[in-house]
């Protein structure tokens, strides 16, 4: 079950220009690749969430660069494997009272739509989703995409 958990990098950023460029250049120098990326904005601040190929290295790098950063456990689903898409996933989880904290989708280099989910009960969600025949992406997949 553990291997279905994806470590996402989350960091706190004020909505100031230049922050993203700063992060990207930090990663570029260290050869870390961003696979998925989203910003949740709320007024004066934003939370940047990223799936990268080497999360532990990325965490250390950003922490040392002075960012407030955490590693968060999330799940990844390839959307083309899920008939009905996000609605289907929400239904399956909702039946077991598992809440989705947030979700975001992005398109991989190989042009597949990948959905990232944070839920309030990750191990329960893995069981339920796999029980419903939904295949979860693991860290090894993340390194490939």
């Amino acid at each position: 079950m553990e291997d279905k958990i994806i470590k996402q990098i989350s960091l706190f950023a004020e909505n100031k220009p230049g922050r993203l460029a700063n992060i990207a250049s930090n990663f570029r120098k260290s050869g870390i690749n961003i696979r998925a990326f989203t910003i949740a904005e709320a007024g004066d601040f934003g939370i940047i969430r990223m799936v990268v190929d080497r999360p532990d290295d990325a965490h250390e790098l950003l922490h040392n660069a002075g960012f407030t950063v955490s590693e968060t456990n999330v799940l990844g689903v390839e959307m083309e494997d899920v008939p009905g898409g996000l609605g289907k996933i929400a239904d399956v989880l909702g039946e077991r009272s598992i809440n989705i904290d947030y979700a975001y989708a992005f398109v991989t280099k190989t042009e597949k739509a990948l959905l990232i989910l944070r839920v309030n009960d990750i191990e329960g969600a893995i069981l339920v989703l796999q029980g419903a025949g939904i295949r979860l992406v693991d860290m090894a997949d993340v390194q490939q995409i």
């Binding site: 706190f12 949740a40 004066d44 969430r49 407030t68 950063v69 955490s70 904290d101």
Partner: protein, 434 residues
Amino acid sequence: MREYWNPWIERMPVCELEKIQEKKLSDLVNYVYRHSGFYRKRFDEAGVNPGEIKTLADLKKLPFTYKSDLRDTYPTGMFCVPNEQLVRFHVSSGTTGKPTVVGYTQNDIDVWTTSLARAMTSIGVGRGDIVQVGYGYGLFTGGLGAHYGAEEVGATVLPVSSGNTERQIELMQDLGSTVIACTPSYFLFMNEVANNLGISIKDNTQMRVGIFGAEPWTEEMRKRIEESTGIKAYDIYGTSELSGPLFTECMYQDGIHVWADQFLIEIIDPVTGEQLPDGERGELVITTLAKEALPLIRYRIGDITVINRDECRCGRTHPRIMRVLGRVDDMLIIRGINVFPGQIEAVLMKMPEVGGHFMIVVDRVNELDVMKVQIEMTDEAFSDKVNDIMALEAKVASAMKHVLNLAVKVELVEKGSLPRSMGKAKRVIDNRKL
């Protein structure tokens, strides 16, 4: 280790101290009337005859002296001695207008040094200590004041001055400094830098005492310093107009002893100027009883505090001023409500999940004052759920509203993004054009 620098004077019965004060006050009033054109004019205008000032009860007949008087008579218009009798000048930077100049005779320097020697002895600093002076040297009085006081008690001085934080930490370790004298916010910054270098002040240095001042700080900040660095943190008080840093708390950390044979203190209502009874909060007024070059009569120093005249557990009979609660001129008036930056700090220190670095930003939007408090995000407080962060902001805002009786917008900002200070922490940006 000596218990008292001067046991005879420090433990003198209050009635005898008051006799000394009355004698010195009456001498002082005659002295300034004779030697300073400024005071002669001020007394004449107030209808005060120096011969009439005989007891401490007569004190309230004397007119106040203000910081603006020092500026208006810049540079040396209030001095009571000719320049050739001066051994030193200090100059304090003026945030508004002209700076103020303070001159010292040799006796003024000696009185200043003695005051600090008594204070340092009262917190167990003396021979065998290495005192790292992290206050600025130069025109500012902090560095040289602490320096002379520490030498007087027989300690070894390490005159690092302020800034160059990594060097401070290196020397602290290599020379085994046992005492640090600097601003409390700078020491917290030093601790942060030390931690980033993998050095614990608690475990990897000999540091045991901190003498912190030159900016207002709170009991909660003391707790934070003592817990994170393992030292005992003492408050030091004084301003350049009075000579410089002069008084500290004693071992009991329960108020700052003001040497009554050298300084006379009162608390007044800052608005009406009336004397307030002991124990009431108000503006501190100080009369210097032993200064020669620039004596000050009923000087409105601008700090808000409380006087406690009860005999202290340390055996000293000299009155104590309780922790300075704020400056009359730092007081922000927001929608008619008095707000001191220290109150904001006290709220934050009680919420360990948020950091202690903050900035108050005041704006006027549609004729209404709006106060925003920016606080740095910490690793502990960070959640990657937007709602959690908004809930934390709301929780801090509600705690502040409870204390200030005022709606405050709380904004979490990136850690390290607010300015760190080497000297006085800048806590307020007031954008109101009043």
